[in-house]
Every structure is written in structure tokens, then in C-alpha cells.
């Protein structure tokens, strides 16, 4: 048996996009390096996470490995099969979930969707029916199995998507943002299922931009940003990359530029990451990495909040998380990277 379920060597994918500017002006061609010489190996039976902000190249990497895209450079093997030369064998070795709520036949029921894909995976009818029943139970969709998918909620569609990925009982699962858009209860159920699948011996490659999820689920994580892997290790080792320091998390209203500028000029602050949830009220979260003990810094921080008329709703002092690792490595937070990606 091979040691690695997935091996990627210098995998690179470049897209040519066209920027449209008005009715008559010619579009400008742009070369976007979605995945930039990415190399990693996923061991058999582990949960390997690709963690990164939107537009980092996570989904493109999964699509390359799932044979939906042909790389421009580099090579990869899934279950020992080459992703270009042995694409059919790769497809038989994987179960894939790409979008949490798309890619289903809306005019078919959940059960009919699963039956359709089971046949495409060459599962004989009797075996398929047994498997479908089993999977509906696992994803908790038994009661809704005979409803049309158009009547499903986002969470139900995500569960059906996951059930579809498990249909062919493939040894390797590739799950792209499996909990995206799910309510906390459904997300927890999906995470439990992923852990159960690992116990059953499946190798799971998952992408997420949810740090807690990656921390909780993954044996190893590759942090990916702008198409490149910037760090790869276990969550614990990654967190050790950040020097032992306190992080202050503040949820507030009226977060303004002046405050950010003032915070950046303070000596006791190592970095700041802001995440604005509502641009109208400028409410959001500030993540402030400290250079010194939080007890000494907190009064100063609160004084600055008062000075710049920030309405603090919640404040917490915590240790470094994967987000702090990301900020340390890229000098930016996920939110800032998301903003950059959508601006591009």
C-alpha cells in the first residue's frame, strides 16, 4: 500500500480572464495564477485541510486533483493514479463535494438524485438502494428523501451533496467547504460525520476558510494564500510558529480608520486584523496581536477605544489561533485577503 493517498508536485494552474469595460471598449486580458507550484502529500487515513481566504486557490487545487482541470505545470497522483494520464481511475477512487447547495437536479427528489449518481458510478440497483438508504440515515435526510430538491433548505442540500460524495464508498474524499452556509447545528453534524469517516479509514482532503473548523478537524493543514502554500504542518505546530503572546479580540461598532491608524502606531501591538461585518454601522471584529502581557496593554487599548468613540460590545483575551498564524505569515488577515480577492 502506498504511504500517500494524494501527492501533488509543483501543481500550477493559470487562468486567462477578460475584464469587460463598458459596451464598446475592448476587454483587457489578464493572467491569473490560481495555483502556483503547489506541492503537498496527504497520508492515507488523515484529514488534510487546505486553509485560506477566498480566491486563495483551494477549490482550484481540489478541481485539479478531481480531474476537472488539467494543470499547466506540475503533476499529481491520487490513490497512486496520475490525474491526467489515468483520470478515469482517479475518478473511481474519489468522492467529491464541490458546492454545498448546487449541482443537484431540483426536479428530482433527494433519493432520485442519489439513485441517478449511483448508476453513473456503476453501482447495481439493489446495492444502490441499500447504500442510498444507509446514506440518507447517516446524513439525517430519511424523512425528506422523497421531497423534490427544490423544496430543500441549504442545509439539506449540503447534506445531500455529502451523501452523494459517499455513494461510491471511495477511499479518498475531497470536500470543498463542506459546512459553508450551514446553520451551526447542521455544521456540527457535518463535522461529526467527517470525523466518523476518518475513523472508518477514509482519507479526507477538505478546504475551508473557517479556522476553528480546520483546527478541530484536520490532522495537518496547508495554509494557502494567493495560490501558494505558505505553511504546512499540524495545527499545533502551526500555532507554535507564532511566538507565545496574547491576542485581544474585540467586537465593536464604529470601527474607524483613525482608530486603526492609532493602533498601528502603538509599540505594544504586533499586528491588527479587522473584519467589518456591516459597513453601514462599521461593526465588526478587531483581532489585535500583542507584544506584551495583555494586563499591561488592556487599559491603553480601552482608552483608545473611548478616544475614538468605538462602542465595544465584547472583548476577549485569548492565545494565538490559526488566524494569527495566517496573519504572521502573510501580514494580512483573512478578511483583508477576501477584500483583496473580491476587488481583483
Amino acid at each position: 500500500m502506498r504511504d500517500y493517498a494524494i501527492e501533488a508536485e509543483n501543481l500550477t494552474k493559470i487562468f486567462i480572464t477578460k475584464e469587460r469595460r463598458g459596451l464598446f471598449r475592448r476587454g483587457v486580458r489578464k493572467r491569473v495564477i490560481a495555483v502556483d507550484h503547489v506541492s503537498f502529500k496527504v497520508r492515507n487515513g488523515e484529514i488534510f485541510g487546505l486553509l485560506g481566504p477566498n480566491g486563495a486557490g483551494k477549490t482550484t487545487t481540489i478541481k485539479l486533483l478531481a480531474t476537472l482541470l488539467i494543470p499547466d505545470e506540475g503533476e499529481a497522483w491520487v490513490n497512486g493514479y496520475h490525474i491526467v494520464r489515468e483520470a478515469d481511475k482517479v475518478r473511481r477512487s474519489i468522492g467529491v463535494s464541490l458546492y454545498s447547495d448546487r449541482g443537484l437536479y431540483w426536479k428530482l427528489t433527494g433519493r432520485e438524485n442519489l439513485r441517478y449518481f449511483a448508476y453513473l458510478y456503476h453501482i447495481p440497483p439493489k446495492v444502490a438502494e441499500r447504500r442510498i438508504e444507509e446514506l440518507l440515515k447517516i446524513v439525517d435526510l430519511e424523512k425528506d428523501a422523497d421531497k423534490l430538491v427544490e423544496e430543500y433548505s441549504t442545509g439539506m442540500k449540503a447534506k445531500l451533496n455529502l451523501a452523494r460524495a459517499l455513494l461510491n464508498d471511495a477511499p479518498i474524499l475531497m470536500l470543498d467547504e463542506p459546512t459553508l452556509g450551514l446553520d451551526p447545528h447542521s455544521a456540527r453534524k457535518v463535522r461529526e460525520l467527517i470525523l466518523k469517516l476518518k475513523e472508518e479509514g477514509k482519507t479526507i482532503l477538505l478546504t475551508t476558510h473557517n479556522m476553528e473548523e480546520a483546527d478541530h478537524l484536520c490532522d495537518r493543514i496547508a495554509i494557502i494564500n494567493r495560490g501558494k502554500i505558505v505553511a504546512l504542518d499540524t495545527p499545533e505546530e502551526l500555532k507554535r510558529m507564532v511566538k507565545r503572546q496574547d491576542v485581544v479580540v474585540i467586537e465593536a461598532i464604529n470601527i474607524n480608520r483613525e482608530l486603526i491608524k492609532a493602533l498601528k502606531s502603538e509599540d505594544y501591538i504586533s499586528y491588527i486584523s479587522e473584519k467589518i461585518k456591516d459597513p453601514l454601522s462599521m461593526s465588526g471584529t478587531l483581532r489585535i496581536g500583542l507584544n506584551e502581557n495583555s494586563r499591561e496593554a488592556l487599559p491603553n487599548l480601552l482608552a483608545l477605544m473611548t478616544k475614538y468613540r468605538i462602542k465595544v460590545q465584547y472583548i476577549k483575551v485569548t492565545g494565538p489561533s490559526l488566524e494569527d498564524v495566517f496573519i504572521t505569515l502573510t501580514k494580512r488577515g483573512f478578511y483583508e485577503e477576501d477584500q483583496r480577492a473580491s476587488a481583483e
Binding site: 487562468f15 441517478y116 448508476y119 453501482i123
Partner: protein, 281 residues
Amino acid sequence: MKKIKELVLNNILVIRAVFMREILYWVRYPMWFLTLISFPYLISGLFYSIGYAMSGENAIKYFSERAGTSNVLLYQLVGSAIFMISILMIEDVGQSIRVEQLRGTLEYNYITAANKIVLWGSVVVPHGLISLTTLATSLIPVLFMGLGAVDPLNLLLGIFVLFIGLMPLFGIGFVVAALTMRFKEPWAVTNIIKAFISAFSGFNYPITILPLWLQYVSSILPTTMVTNIIREALLFNKKIYTMNNQVELLTLMGLMYFTIALVVYKRWEEEARKRGELSKY
């Protein structure tokens, strides 16, 4: 031998899956069937009205002279039914890959173990069945009213010919489908093809009224051939097995278009994977 059996069984499962999916969609959008069975009558009525408006009471007389039959109603119904079936085949097959792309199901279909040619090609089975049901439902009442020749064997052969005649259309549709993996505008292309075959296949008027050069164009269209064969059988009780040459030519056309479709598909499938077009909508 075991491998061949497995291959056949696997492909039957794929065909079954597509058949089931398409039929369920049809059943859940039932108004389509009403449209299909009523359209041959509506289109025939439309042409009759235009003819009457242009030539008055002599319309039927003039038409019969040019078409070579006094059974104008059956002549029109055969043409209109085949018109509907042909349009449906080109439209549905031509847009099939694009529809999957828009729905987000293309990639999921693509990453299964199914052979892609069998997978995309399987739509011909449910569509063939629906087409034949349409033809039967539209024509059988007229035939049983004594307006045409009802020879069971000939009818069966007629159905077979229609199925063969659909193959080139499937091929044309598949070429469009393959191209839309890249170009995303199947509607424009299928509409042009539909307009072309509607005008030059002799569905509702004899192609002899067209200029000579257009008659040549018309005679190489598979739709013209199928319409001719079925009209000969139903209107003049001509035995289909005596029209071997036309049937052979149709089969050849089917193979030719299908081969072109395969080449185009293979070419654009790889291109789509290189450019990331499978997921674009």
C-alpha cells in the same frame, strides 16, 4: 468476456440513469407533452390558413397538385409532427451540456465513472421514446379515421426509420453541445439550425416549390429524407423495406454526424478542462 459483460452492464446502468432522469423531468413538467401532441395540429392549421388566405377556396386544389396527394391533412400532420420531433432533438441535445453547466451538475456528472460519450449520448433514448409517442399520439387518431394507410409492419418500420433519422439530428445537436462547453451560446446556434431545417425539409410544403439549388440542399437534409419516407408509407402505402437506399443513406448520415460530434467533443472537452470551462455558468 467478463470484462465486456461488465462494460455493457455498466453502460446500461448509465443509460438507465439518464432515461429515468429525463422521463421524470418530462413527467414533472407535463405541459410539454400537451404542447407536443397539439403542435402538429396547430402548425398544420396555421399552414392551411395561410394557404387559404393566399389562394382562397382553391388552396387545397393547388396544394394537392404540387404535393401529389389529395390527403392534405395527413401530409401536413406528418410534416408537422416530424418538424416538432426534429426541433426538440436539436434543441434538447444541443443545449444539454449547457443546461447541466448552468445547473452546476456538469462537473458532478463529469467526475463519475461513467463513460462521457455514453452519458451525453444516452439522452437520445428518452428523447426517441418521447418523439415516437408524440408521433403516435398525433397521427394514430387520423390514421384510424381512415385518412391514411395502416399497415402494422410498415408503421413499425416507419418508427424505426424515424429513429434512424433522428441520429443525424442527434449528431448535429451533439456538435453544438460540445462547442457550448467553450462558447456558452447554444441557443443562437440551435435557433439557426432549427430555422434552416424548418424552411428546407419540406415539412409543410413540397421541396419542389423551392429553387433548384435549394432543392439540392434540401435533399441532403436527414429531415427531408425521413419526412419523405414516412409520407410515402402513410399516404401511399409504400413499403418501407422497398426504400432501402434512403434508409441506408440516413444511417450513413447518422454515423457521419456522430463521428464529427465525437471528434468535436473530444477536442473541446480537453480544452474545457484546460480553461476551467466545466464550472463556468
